[in-house]
Symmetry: C2
Subunit: 475 residues, 2 copies
Amino acid sequence: MVRGEKIYRYEKVAADLARLIDQGTFRPGDRVPSLRGISRRMQVSISTALEAYRLLEDRQLIEARPQSGYYVRRLSNYGLKEPKPIRPEKSPTTVSVDELVQMVIRDSRNRNLVPLGAAVPNPDNLPVDKLNRLLAAVARRKGVQSISYEMANGCEALRVQIARRLLAAGCSAHPQELVITSGCQEAVALSLMAVCRPGDTVAIESPTYFNHLQTLEVLHLKALEIPSHPASGISFAALETALKKHRIGACLLIPNFSNPLGSLMPDEQKQALAELIVRHDLPLIEDDIYGDLGFAPERPPVVKAFDKKGLVILCSSFSKTLAPGYRIGWIHPGRFQAEIERLKTACTIATATAPQLAVAEFLNNGGYDHHLRKIRRIYMGQIWSMTQAVSKFFPPGTRVTRPAGGFVLWVELPEYVDSLKLYELALQAGITIAPGPIFSIRRGYRNYIRLNAAFWSEKIEKALALLGHLAENLK
Amino acid sequence: MVRGEKIYRYEKVAADLARLIDQGTFRPGDRVPSLRGISRRMQVSISTALEAYRLLEDRQLIEARPQSGYYVRRLSNYGLKEPKPIRPEKSPTTVSVDELVQMVIRDSRNRNLVPLGAAVPNPDNLPVDKLNRLLAAVARRKGVQSISYEMANGCEALRVQIARRLLAAGCSAHPQELVITSGCQEAVALSLMAVCRPGDTVAIESPTYFNHLQTLEVLHLKALEIPSHPASGISFAALETALKKHRIGACLLIPNFSNPLGSLMPDEQKQALAELIVRHDLPLIEDDIYGDLGFAPERPPVVKAFDKKGLVILCSSFSKTLAPGYRIGWIHPGRFQAEIERLKTACTIATATAPQLAVAEFLNNGGYDHHLRKIRRIYMGQIWSMTQAVSKFFPPGTRVTRPAGGFVLWVELPEYVDSLKLYELALQAGITIAPGPIFSIRRGYRNYIRLNAAFWSEKIEKALALLGHLAENLK
C-alpha cells in the first residue's frame, strides 16, 4: 500500500464529510453514517473510513459515543467568536513601561520590522540545520527518554558538557552540581527566589537588562541601582558604599559583556568582588549569558571562578549562541543547590528533555568552539559597522558604547531626543528599537536607546539612517 | 566521498591525538602539531585534520590561539574531582517532608524501582513513536522557527488546537486568550503569582497534590485546607464557611479527578462554585490536568465553563496524556491574561518551540481522541486490578478510593501503619510509594499512601503483595 495514496484517500473522505456537516446535511447531534456505511458508500476500506473519522474527531467535528456510533458534535468549532482586539495598539507614549517591555519583545518576533529592539540573535549565525538534525535524531533514537520527565536538575549528558565548558571560564564544577533550567531567565528567577524573601533589596547595575527588572518586580523585590561604567561595568566603590548604607539581600550582575553596556569587569575586580561578598555574606547572582561572546581571543573568567564560599550563583544559557527557542539554560548554584532544585520542582518540575539532549550532542560533537569563533568575529564586525553608521547618521552629540563582547550597542542621544517618542516614530517606519527607560527601575535614560547589532544588511544601514533622521527631527 | 568513512577517519585522528595528550606526550600548554603537520604525518586531508581538531576542541582537550596554532588546554577535563556524595541517602524518617517530596519524584525516575510513587504515566500507553516522528519532522521542516524564541503566549498553531479541544470541556476560548506554559506546574505557579501577594491565604482541597503545596510555600503563600470527599471533592459547605471566616486570596482546586482522591465535582456544584466566587470576587485556579482521563464516556465540564466574570484561571497540560518530557502546559487566564503574559516573560520568557509544534501537529492529525479512549480504558482497568490487589493483600481495615478518572489510588491503612516507615521499608524492597503526609500542609494522613496505577504487571501485583505484608508487619 502506498502510504501517500492512503493519506490522500482518508483525508478526502474526511473532507467530504466535513463539507456535509458544514452545509448542514448533518447537524449538531445528528448521527453520521457508520464506518461500514461510509466504507460502502465511498468505496473505501473500513480502516480508511476509521482514519477519516479520527481526523474529524481531532478536528472536533464529530464524536464517538460508545456502543452507539459517531455523532456531529453539539458545539462545533464554527461557534467560535471572531477575535476581539484584545491588545489594542496604544501609542507607546501612553502605555506603561511594563507594556512597553512586552511590546519590545513582541515586536522582535514580527518579521516585518527591522529588528533593532530585543537582543535576539540572528538565525543566520546559528547552527540551525545541525541542531535540528540532532533534535530529529534524538526524537528518533531516544523515543521514550525524550517524552519522559527529566530529573529536576536536568539531563546528565548536558550537565557533563557544561561542566567541561566551565573549565574555560575558570570554574571546576561537578556535573551533579549543575541544574538545567528553561533558559537563563528561569535560572535568574529561581536564583532570586532561593536567596531573597519578598521585600528584600537587590543591588543591580544601571542600566541593566529590562527583563531582570521585571523579574525583580514580579518577585516583590526592591532594586538598588548602582552606577556602571560603559567599559568596566559596575562601580566597585559605589557598590561598597551601598553595602555599608543599605541592607542588601543579593547582587544580580552581568560582569561579562553586560546588557546593555557591553562592559567587561576586569579580573582584579572580579576577585575583589568575590572577596567583598564573603565579607558581607552576600549572595551574588552572576548572569553570564554573553560570556562566550567576547571579542578578545581569551574567554574571560566568571566571578564564580574566584568564589571560595559557594556564594556565587552562576547563571547562563545557550539562547544567544545556539537556539533561543530550545529554552536551555543552567545554574551552577554553589551552596544554594538544594534550594534551587526544590524551586525548580515547584515552578516547572523539569526542563523539556529533547532540546537538552540535542544541545548536549552539539556540545559534544558539533564544533561549538569553532562556531563561537565564527559568530564572535561576525558580531564584532557588525558592532563596528553599526557604530560607523551611528556616527554617520545620528545627530551631533550622540555617544555610543564600545562593547567588549555581545551584540548590543548602547546609544546616548542628545538631550532633546525622547526615546519613547523615537520608539513610536521608528515603529511607524517599520523599525523596532529598545528605548532607554525600560533599562532602569526609575525609568531614567530618557535620551538613550539600545540597538541590536546581531543583524546587518543594507536595509539595516538604511534603517539607521532613517532613525538618525527621526532623532534629529525631534529637536 | 563516503560520509561514514570520513567520520571514521577524523575520529580516529582525534583519538590518536587524545591518547598522546593523555599519555603526557603533549602536556597542558604545549603546542600540538599544525593542521598541515598532522595531515602529512597521519596521511589525511587538511579538512579531516581540521575536523579532528574541532572534535578535540569540543572535548576541551585543545584550544586554538589566533595566529599561533593549537595548544593543549591548561585545564584538562581530567582535572575534574571524583563525585562527592552530594545527597547522602538519609533515612526517610529523619528527612524533612520537603526532602521526601524530592525523593518521591527522584525515585520515580529510577527504573530499578517499582513505580508506585509519583503519578507518572506509563510510556507504553503514550504515543511515543508518533510524537517523536512529529518532533523530528518539526525539526527538519521548521528549522528556523524551531530554534527561535516563541511569543510569551506560545505558538499559535497549538493555541488553536487547545481552543478547539476546550469546546468539549464546555469552554469557548479564542486562541489569543490562551497562554502556553512549561507544563501545568508553571501554569499553576504563574496563576498564583498573578492573583496573590506574599502572605495571602489560598484555599485548597485536603488531601492535595504535594507539589502544589511546595509551590504555595516557595511563593510565600499560606494554605487553608478544606476537607474533601473521595467521591465529590471539596466540601462546598466547608468552603463557604471558610470564606466567611477567613480572608482568602484565591482557591486552587482540582475539580476533575483530583490528585490524590480521583474525585469528581458534580456539575451543579461546579456551577454553584462559579457563582460563589463571583459573590466573593475570588479568583479560582482550576487544575484540570486529569480532565481528559475520566472513566465515563462524556468528558466532564470544567468550572471555567460556568465562569461568566473571567475569575477562573484554567490550567492544564499534556503531561499525563502525551509527553511529560515535552513540558507543554497552558492557561486560559480569563481576566488575568495581561498579568499572566507579563509573568511568563519575567519567569521563563517563552516555552520551548519545537515540542509545542509537535503537540499541535499531534492534536491536529494524530488521533488524540482515539488515544484518549484507549488509555482511559487501560487506566480504568488498572485501577480496578490494583483495587483488587489492595483488597487481597493489604491488612484488614484498609480503605481505598474509587476514582472517577486519572490513574492514582488513595489508600487509608490501619492506624498502626506509619506511612513514612512503610515508605522506607518499601524503598529497601525496591518499591517507591507516595506517603500520606506529603499531601497535606499539616503533614497529616500519617496512615495513608497514594499508589500510581499507571503501570500494571505481575511484578506490580507482587510488589503490592509485599507492600501489604510490610504494612501488616508494622502492627
